[in-house]
C-alpha cells in the first residue's frame, strides 16, 4: 500500500473530556487508515468512542472535550478539480476548529451524516433552504442553480417528487426520507470522504436496508471513501472493505472484513463475533454474551482495558501494561499481548512506550 492510497490517516488520536467528575478518556490512542474509494467500518459497543473519533476528524468536539494528542492526516481535495495525489496533506488537528480551512473541508471534502436524521435537520427551514445554503457555501452558484442542483441530488437519492419535497420541512418527512435528504445534502459537493455515524440505527429494518443499499450504490458511482460507524456486525459484513474494532477508546483490531470475520485475533473481536445469533444454532442453546459490562470511560481499568472481561487475560501482565499494537500482515493489526512477538516476561516492557510508533513500524515491515 502506497502513501497516496491513504485518504485519511489517524495516528494516536486522543480526545479527552475534562468534566468536573474527572477526565473521561473517550478516545485514547486510535490509529486508523481510510484508503481511497473504500469503505471502512468502525465497530464497537456504545461508549467505545467511535462517534467521538468520527467527530474529532471534523473537529466537531466542543468543550469540555479536547483533542489532546495525535494527528489526523487528510489528503483529500482531489475531486474538486485537482489531480489525484496532488493535494497537499494537512493535519486536521493543527487547524483552528472555527477556521476557514476546516470549514472548507466540512461538507465539501468530508461530509457527515448522523444517527438521528430528523433531528439533524433544522425544523425552522425547508429542506431546500438548508441544501441550497450548503451548496452555496462551497460552490459559487446562483440560488436557482443551487436549487436545481439540490433537486437533482434529491432525485439521485431516490426521493419521489423532489421538486415538491424540496420545499418540505423536516418534520413533514419520515425518518428514512430525512436520512435520504441528509445523504443528498452530504453528497451535493462531491466529497472525497463520507463519514456516516450510525446513520441507520434510528430507522426500521427495511428502511435501514434501503439506506445501506443507497450508500453502497453511491459509493460505487462516485468512488468516494466511506467511514461507517456502527455497532451492528451485520451492517459491517454487508458494507465494509476494512474493519476497525474499537473497545473503550482504543482500537483493538483492524483488518479486511474477511480476515476479521473469519480469523478474528483479538479476544474481544472473537467474543463479539460469537455473540451474533446465527440460523441453525441449537434453539435450546444460550447465546454467548461477553461477561461483565463495559466500564464507564472514566473508570478505565489499568493495563489492557479489556482484561477484566477477557477469558485469556494473563494475570500480572494484561492488568498492568498497555498491550502493544502488533502488525499481523498488510493492514492487519491486533492490540493484544497474545501476538506480541517479543513475548517477554510479565512486567512493563519498553515496547509499550509508543503504541502508535509500533503500529507504523509494523506496517512498513510487512511488504
Amino acid at each position: 500500500m502506497t502513501e497516496s492510497d491513504a485518504l485519511l490517516e489517524v495516528n494516536g488520536l486522543k480526545t479527552h473530556f475534562f468534566t468536573p467528575d474527572g477526565v473521561v478518556r473517550a478516545v485514547d490512542g486510535v490509529d486508523l487508515t481510510v484508503p481511497r474509494a473504500r469503505t471502512v467500518c468502525i465497530v464497537g459497543e456504545s461508549g467505545c468512542g467511535k462517534s467521538i473519533t468520527s467527530r474529532s476528524i471534523l473537529r466537531l468536539i466542543d468543550p469540555p472535550g479536547r483533542i489532546v494528542d495525535g494527528e489526523i492526516v487528510w489528503r483529500g481535495g482531489q475531486q474538486s478539480g485537482r489531480t489525484p495525489g496532488d493535494g497537499a496533506a494537512v493535519d486536521l488537528v493543527s487547524l483552528d476548529p472555527d477556521g476557514e480551512r476546516i470549514r472548507r473541508i466540512r461538507g465539501n471534502e468530508i461530509s457527515m451524516i448522523f444517527q438521528e436524521p430528523m433531528a439533524s435537520l433544522s425544523p425552522m427551514y425547508t429542506v431546500g433552504a438548508q441544501m441550497i445554503e450548503t451548496i452555496r457555501l462551497h460552490r459559487s452558484m446562483s440560488k436557482d442553480e443551487a436549487r436545481e442542483h439540490a433537486t437533482a441530488m434529491l432525485a439521485r437519492v431516490g426521493i419521489p417528487q423532489p421538486e415538491r419535497r424540496i420545499d418540505a420541512y423536516s418534520f413533514q418527512l419520515s425518518g428514512g426520507m430525512s436520512q435520504r435528504v441528509m445523504i443528498a445534502m452530504a453528497l451535493a459537493c462531491q466529497p472525497d470522504l463520507l463519514i456516516a455515524d450510525e446513520p441507520t440505527t434510528a430507522l426500521d429494518v427495511t428502511t435501514q436496508a434501503r439506506i445501506l443499499d443507497l450508500i453502497r450504490e453511491l459509493q460505487a458511482d462516485t468512488h468516494m471513501s466511506v467511514l461507517f460507524i456502527t455497532h451492528d456486525l451485520g451492517v459491517v459484513a454487508e458494507l465494509a472493505d476494512d474493519v476497525v474494532v474499537m473497545y473503550l477508546g482504543t482500537v483493538v483490531e483492524t483488518g479486511s472484513v474477511d480476515d476479521v470475520f473469519h480469523d478474528p485475533k483479538h479476544p474481544y473481536t472473537r467474543a463479539l463475533l460469537r455473540s451474533i445469533p446465527t440460523m441453525g444454532r441449537g434453539t435450546r442453546e444460550r447465546l454467548p454474551s461477553i461477561r461483565g459490562m463495559v466500564p464507564h470511560p472514566s473508570q478505565r481499568p489499568p493495563g489492557c482495558p479489556y482484561h477484566p472481561r477477557c477469558d485469556e487475560a494473563i494475570a500480572g501482565r494484561c492488568d498492568q501494561e498497555d498491550p502493544p499494537v502488533v502488525a499481523l500482515g498488510p493492514r492487519r493489526t491486533a492490540r493484544c499481548v497474545l501476538y506480541d512477538p517479543s513475548g517477554g516476561p510479565p512486567g512493563p516492557s519498553p515496547a509499550s512506550a509508543g503504541a502508535s510508533g509500533t503500529a507504523e513500524a509494523g506496517m512498513e515491515d510487512t511488504p
Binding site: L60, R104, G107, S111, M112, Q115, S122, M124
Partner: protein, 329 residues
C-alpha cells in the same frame, strides 16, 4: 394562514366574555355597594340621609336590580363604549380611560422595546459564551432583576436620581413641555422623565427574558441539527444566528403575551410612586376607594390589551415557526 388568524380572533370572544363575568363578580364582591359607602360618608359629615333617599340613589345607579340584569346592562353598556360613570371622579369612565390609555400604551410599548433591546444581546451572549464572566454577570442580573420588587427598585433609583442628578423624575413631562410641540427640549425632557419608569417597569421582564432566552438557546445549541450544520461547513456566527436562534426567538415573540400584563402591573405600582398620568394610578385609587365600576372597567381594558397581546404573539409565532403554522407539535 388567513384561517388561522380568523380562528384566533374568534377565540378571543369567549375569552373576553368569561373575563367579563369574573370581573363583574369581583366588582360585586365587597359587601355593600357604592351607595352604602356614599351614605356612610354623608352621614359622617353630619348629614341626615333618609332610607328613601338611599333607595332613590340605588335606583338611580341601578343597584336595586337582580345581579344578572346588572351584568347584562354592564356588558351591553361596555359594548356600546359606555363604560359608566366614575362615582368618585364624577366623570364618565370612558373619558378617564380615553385621556390616559394612549400614554399607558405608549409607556408599555417603549418598555417592551427596552426589554427586547436589552435582553436580546445579553441572552444570546450568555448562551453562546456559557460560563464566561459575562454569562455570570447576565445570570446574576437575571436573578436579581426578578427578585427585586419593582417599587423597591423605583425607590432606590429615585434616591439615586436625587442624590446624583438632583431631581426626582416625577410624571412623564415637565409642566412647561407637556403641551409643547415636539422639539429638542421636549425630547430631552421626555428622556429625563421616561428613563426611570421604563427601567423600573422593564427590569423584571428583561431579567425573565434573559433567563428564558439563555436557557432556550443553550438547549437548542445542543441539538443535533446544530452539529450537523457545522459539519456542513456553516460558519459559527451564521450558524448561531440562523439555526438555534430562530427557535430560541419563540419566547421572545411570546413575550408580547406575558410581558404586557407584567408591564401593566408594573405601571400600577410605579404610577403610584412617580405620579404618572397613566391608567395605573386611577386604577389603584379606584380600588382603594372601592369605586368598583371604574376598577372593573380598567381591569377589562387591561384584559383586552392582554388578550390582544397574546393574539399578536400567537400570530407572530405562527409566522416565525413553521411547526406552529403547519399544526405540528
Amino acid at each position: 394562514m388567513l384561517k388561522f388568524v380568523g380562528r384566533r380572533t374568534l377565540y378571543m370572544v369567549p375569552t373576553l366574555l368569561a373575563i367579563s363575568v369574573v370581573i363583574f363578580v369581583v366588582i360585586n364582591l365587597p359587601p355593600g355597594d357604592y351607595v352604602t359607602s356614599l351614605v356612610a360618608e354623608l352621614r359622617g359629615q353630619g348629614q341626615v340621609v333618609s332610607m328613601e333617599r338611599e333607595r332613590g340613589l340605588r335606583e338611580l345607579y341601578g343597584l336595586n336590580r337582580p345581579l344578572w340584569e346588572q351584568y347584562v346592562a354592564w356588558v351591553s353598556d361596555l359594548l356600546r363604549g359606555d363604560l359608566g360613570r366614575s362615582f368618585d371622579l364624577q366623570q364618565p369612565v370612558a373619558e378617564v380611560i380615553r385621556e390616559r390609555l394612549p400614554i399607558t400604551v405608549a409607556l408599555a410599548g417603549v418598555t417592551l422595546l427596552f426589554t427586547w433591546i436589552v435582553a436580546f444581546p445579553i441572552g444570546v451572549y450568555a448562551a453562546v459564551k456559557q460560563y464566561s464572566i459575562g454569562d455570570y454577570l447576565a445570570t446574576t442580573f437575571g436573578f436579581l432583576g426578578l427578585a427585586i420588587p419593582n417599587f423597591l427598585l423605583a425607590l432606590l433609583l429615585m434616591t439615586v436620581s436625587v442624590q446624583y442628578f438632583g431631581y426626582v423624575p416625577e410624571g412623564l413631562c415637565s409642566p412647561e413641555y407637556c403641551d409643547a410641540s415636539w422639539n429638542l427640549g421636549k425630547v430631552l425632557d421626555a428622556l429625563k422623565h421616561w428613563w426611570l419608569p421604563v427601567i423600573v417597569i422593564g427590569t423584571a421582564g428583561t431579567a425573565g427574558l434573559i433567563r428564558i432566552l439563555r436557557a432556550n438557546l443553550l438547549d437548542e445549541l445542543r441539538k443535533p441539527y446544530v452539529v450537523a450544520a457545522r459539519a456542513r461547513g456553516v460558519p459559527k456566527r451564521r450558524l448561531v444566528a440562523r439555526y438555534p436562534l430562530r427557535v430560541a426567538m419563540n419566547p421572545f415573540v411570546s413575550t408580547v403575551g406575558w410581558v404586557l400584563p407584567l408591564l401593566l402591573a408594573g405601571d400600577v405600582i410605579v404610577a403610584q410612586i412617580l405620579s404618572l398620568p397613566t391608567l395605573g394610578r386611577v386604577f389603584l385609587t379606584s380600588l382603594q376607594q372601592q369605586d368598583m365600576y371604574l376598577a372593573g372597567s380598567i381591569l377589562m381594558i387591561y384584559s383586552l390589551l392582554t388578550v390582544i397581546g397574546t393574539m399578536i404573539s400567537d400570530l407572530l409565532l405562527a409566522w416565525l415557526d413553521p411547526r406552529v403554522r403547519l399544526g405540528y407539535q
